[in-house]
Assembly symmetry: C2
Homo-oligomer: 363 residues x 2
């Protein structure tokens, strides 16, 4: 029996370009499928949440430009539950929009907020953690982040320091938030045992986050004056166009979580991956052959004298025949072929060159 | 004023697979354009010949399967001048077919026979050579091959040994034909000064080659019994279907030129290239950047830390971004991406693997 006061906010407005040319401004990661499941990150996020949250309470926040793509990936999503921002302004404005919408519909709502482009495994542990967190949030003003027990000193993630020892099934107060520490600091974090990875998944009462937003991020909430009159009406779109012109770009971590006295973290036991860079994509890709090549499919792929490459094609019916490459990234899409050493610096430098205006049409 | 008894036979039935995946069984080399001219080899062959031969006397021999492609490349070609073989049986059957067709139309015809997938430069010298050869052939039974003065010991070509010293504007008797000698032998050939490259372009009276075919290649000509009744009639297609079932696969060099007493060679001064392998394609491609990369176009190509590669795409609107490759061949077509070291042995071995039945759909 799902709780009718439980809501989910799926944040699906990212315009990620880190996986260019796989991801594009017109096709960001949430709409991609790196797995063998044949479902996009967004689709899998929705399917994961609907086990816990009543479907009529699942809201997706995305951008106007992605309207059709969200519809394609989630045909059953209710029209009124697709919230479209005119521009992406990071997570705090996105959460404010969804929170006000939910509050108008249900003042007693308790929300799960989740990114739409992460990978989660061990769904039983995930469901248990969320159930515990929802129960805890119902009786408090706590702003709960799900924290992932780290397995390596990865400098691409955010870290949350716990203020004490966690007890089973209970959240613990947070002490600090650190976004992408350098590798040495990440190492120190891991060694202390006090730090968790910030999964970007939050649980809180809608009214609790509203109060904290209004307290710590008035530059956002003052734009929302009159929200109760316009949300879920024909005036909403024009209202959004107007307020988003001035909306600051700011993350929820920076806007609220690092400032509030009510930040808690819940050590979770599910497996989680952000897949925010090519190395994590290498790990996550569906197929790995015995030469250490990672592929998004194996049929129609012939790799000879080739090892430790990422070979990715958006075309299932295309034959990729590769010989003599080691530690390369080969990405073939409809309009871009990229071949580059699998070396963070070389790749970064090459991608920045490819981001020049002369290649604008391929963004 | 062009001579109405002059004919040209353009052989355009090749099913070359040496440039797979650029060339295909459905798109052999004669239909490709490696140049900056925007014209296929076939188109350029036709345009070259129509300066010398009346257009109504230019015949193209190709395969039934290539009917539409020839039509596309040569829309002005007369229907009755497109001769379609049911199967490719090399050059001797192709020449027999065209020769009988021409003889029925004009018993006094003098023919130029030319491949459709070679590159020719210095058209003034080419025209002069052909004019001389046509004039010589008119008054004799000579079977004349145009010989190209060799510039290197290339073991991919056929060599013709001259029986004596050539005189300006005159053909010289041939002594031997050698197809693709090994590199050492090719070196010896070049050093003697007695050898010319076999251009595959022939000049002869139609009746002369007919007699020599009937004498040296009866296995072909006996199938053609009754040709005068069927050619250029509605019965032709069924007749061809029938006789090609038994038609031997044999080149004109092997069937006639190596056996006849009437083989002559005409040392020509035009520039000629067969472009029969990847190394000659490297030389011939339209663009070479200052890192020694050969490309079929430069727009939408970003090559960084990359040198001495062949980078070829059939797609003008696709961005090819390549970093860190040296001495590779990168070919990107609609349905195949091939990346392979530019090494004859590795390439040959890789292509033979790609010719396996499991990749049949990509031939």
């Amino acid at each position: 029996m799902l709780n009718n006061h439980h809501y989910c906010i799926i944040m699906a407005g990212g315009i990620g370009s880190r996986f260019w040319p796989i991801s594009r401004t017109g096709m960001p990661k949430q709409f991609l499928d790196f797995s063998i499941q044949g479902r996009s990150f967004l689709r899998r996020t929705y399917d994961r949440m609907k086990v816990i949250i009543p479907e009529e309470n699942i809201l997706v926040v995305s951008l106007e430009r992605y309207r059709e793509q969200v519809r394609t990936h989630l045909p059953e999503l209710r029209e009124e539950n697709l919230l479209l921002e005119p521009y992406n302004r990071s997570t705090a404005p996105c959460i404010a929009f969804a929170t006000y919408t939910i509050l108008k519909r249900d003042p007693d709502a308790i929300c799960v907020v989740t990114p739409s482009d992460h990978a989660i495994a061990r769904h039983d542990a995930f469901n248990k953690t969320l159930a515990d967190a929802l129960a805890y949030a119902a009786g408090s003003d706590a702003l709960i982040t799900l924290g992932v027990i780290p397995t390596r000193a990865d400098s691409n993630f955010g870290y949350i320091q716990m203020a004490g020892k966690p007890e089973k099934g209970q959240p613990v107060k947070t002490k600090t938030f650190t976004e992408k520490p350098d590798p040495e600091l990440a190492r120190v974090f891991i060694d202390t045992g006090e730090f968790l990875w910030n999964s970007g998944i939050f649980v809180w009462r809608a009214d609790a986050i509203r109060q904290e937003l209004e307290k710590h991020a008035p530059e956002i909430t003052h734009l929302w004056k009159g929200w109760r009159e316009v949300l879920d009406t024909d005036n909403q779109k024009a209202f959004l166009e107007r307020i988003y012109t001035d909306m600051p770009r700011i993350s929820i971590d920076y806007a609220v979580m690092e400032k509030t006295d009510n930040a808690w973290v819940y050590p979770a036991e599910f497996r989680w991956a952000d897949i925010g860079n090519w190395e994590s994509l290498y790990d996550y890709l569906a197929y790995h052959d015995d030469q250490g090549n990672a592929l998004n499919r194996t049929a129609r792929r012939l790799l000879k004298d080739s090892s430790d490459n990422i070979v990715y094609s958006t075309r299932d019916d295309k034959l990729l025949a590769v010989r003599g490459l080691k530690d390369f990234i080969v990405v073939d899409t409809e309009d871009v072929l990229m071949i580059c050493p699998r070396d963070e610096e070389k790749l970064k430098d090459f991608l920045s060159q490819l981001a020049m205006p002369e290649y604008e049409e391929y963004r």
